[in-house]
Symmetry: C2
């Protein structure tokens, strides 16, 4: 009986590892979905868009499973300190990944809805923004895997790169719309896709906050480099 405590500890550590690996798997699914949505931007492909929408339901299931896993861990193991942070952080990361899936699915649907892409610059800017938020998502999940507070902080501190690109893209889309008055709907979709991508960047930044918190035990309380100045006037 003397080694029952290590047994329990080890079972809990295994459960935490499984939790982390479920998050990584969910993130992988979100990344694939985002890649496919970005591909819909450059090659009009309604079938692929449909696949993105379908895989969004898979992300919802992932979130439910991770939540159920976390609730079981909280109820049965009653973790404290680092372990408690680990479990609550998994809940929060899963919620952010689920929202990323929503924005991605919406982007794919909108991309497929644009019958003729405006022959102008904005489209070029969209994949750039897409690539940037995709890189940030990968980087923040790497930081999560490595419990790397420094990397998380770096990602958190460079949120304004997304904002800058988004802002210039909004201006580009507006300019393009003004020269093609009959294409309001197409430009509206481009604008909404840009907004979705910016939001995905926001969620990556949220995840960076969570990773910092789980790694250090301290919250990143200050205002983060604020999104959404873009297209919005200084007040």
């Amino acid at each position: 009986m003397s080694n029952s405590a290590p047994h329990i500890v080890s079972a809990f550590e295994d459960a935490l590892k499984r939790l982390k690996s479920a998050i990584v798997q969910m993130a992988g699914a979100a990344e694939t979905q985002l890649d496919q949505a970005l591909s819909c931007l450059t090659h009009r492909n309604p079938e692929l868009a449909l696949e993105v929408v379908r895989s969004d339901a898979q992300l919802d299931s992932f979130e439910h499973e991770i939540e159920a896993h976390c609730m079981r861990l909280l109820a049965l193991r009653q973790p404290v300190a680092d372990d408690l942070r680990e479990v609550v952080s998994a809940l929060k990361i899963a919620a952010n990944l689920e929202r990323i899936g929503d924005h991605t699915a919406n982007s794919a649907k909108r991309a497929a809805a644009i019958e003729v892409f405006p022959e102008s610059a904005p489209l070029l800017g969209l994949p750039n923004l897409g690539r940037l938020v995709r890189q940030r998502l990968t980087a923040v999940i790497d930081a999560y895997v490595d419990t790397d507070a420094e990397a998380a902080l770096r990602i958190w501190n460079t949120d304004d790169e997304v904002d800058a690109l988004y802002t210039s893209l909004c201006a580009e889309i507006e300019r393009s719309a003004s020269t093609a008055p009959g294409q309001f709907t197409a430009h509206m979709h481009l604008m909404m896709i840009a907004k979705n991508l910016e939001r995905i960047g926001d969620h990556a930044t949220n995840i960076a906050e969570v990773v910092y918190y789980v790694s250090t035990g301290k919250p990143l309380l200050d205002e983060r480099p604020k999104a959404d100045r873009s297209c919005d006037p200084a007040l």
Copy 2:
């Protein structure tokens, strides 16, 4: 010493009551912020918009406080069953209210940015959509206060009312834009405000899911009446 257990139970119950009351207070702040943003739609008022943006920071603080409260409760009281659900649900509701604040602040900024509202119908539809999501937010917080699973389910099941109004509003905005080709930016802001309001409706529905779960112990796993069909083609 014989009554130390009741003491502990009662302290925990008090802590849960304080948690619930913090959520209700946060929801009240979100409602006020939404009322002010809706008022910015009908009376152009940059000062009020600025106030909405400032009060959004207050919602962020609320969320941080509620999170810290929940973490303390989880670590010190190690709740199980109903009590655990209560604590985790508070975390989730606070996260949804914080997002509602973001969408509200963004709407207020955009409303203030529209120098001349297009002389057409969409504007009329926006306050209607605003009122509907406002009612749903109030109703779902009432359901939370009363732990009323039936009310939560009713709210969850009528999410499509928001979608229907949002869809017709998008069509209206597109029509208006096609007759006023020089007003792309104004129409884009109207469209983004509509999207923000629809998202606020989504968050109210998310909260309904949480209230149902906390009231019954069962998750609402089925697909909810799905938002975002609007403006998006059937795939």
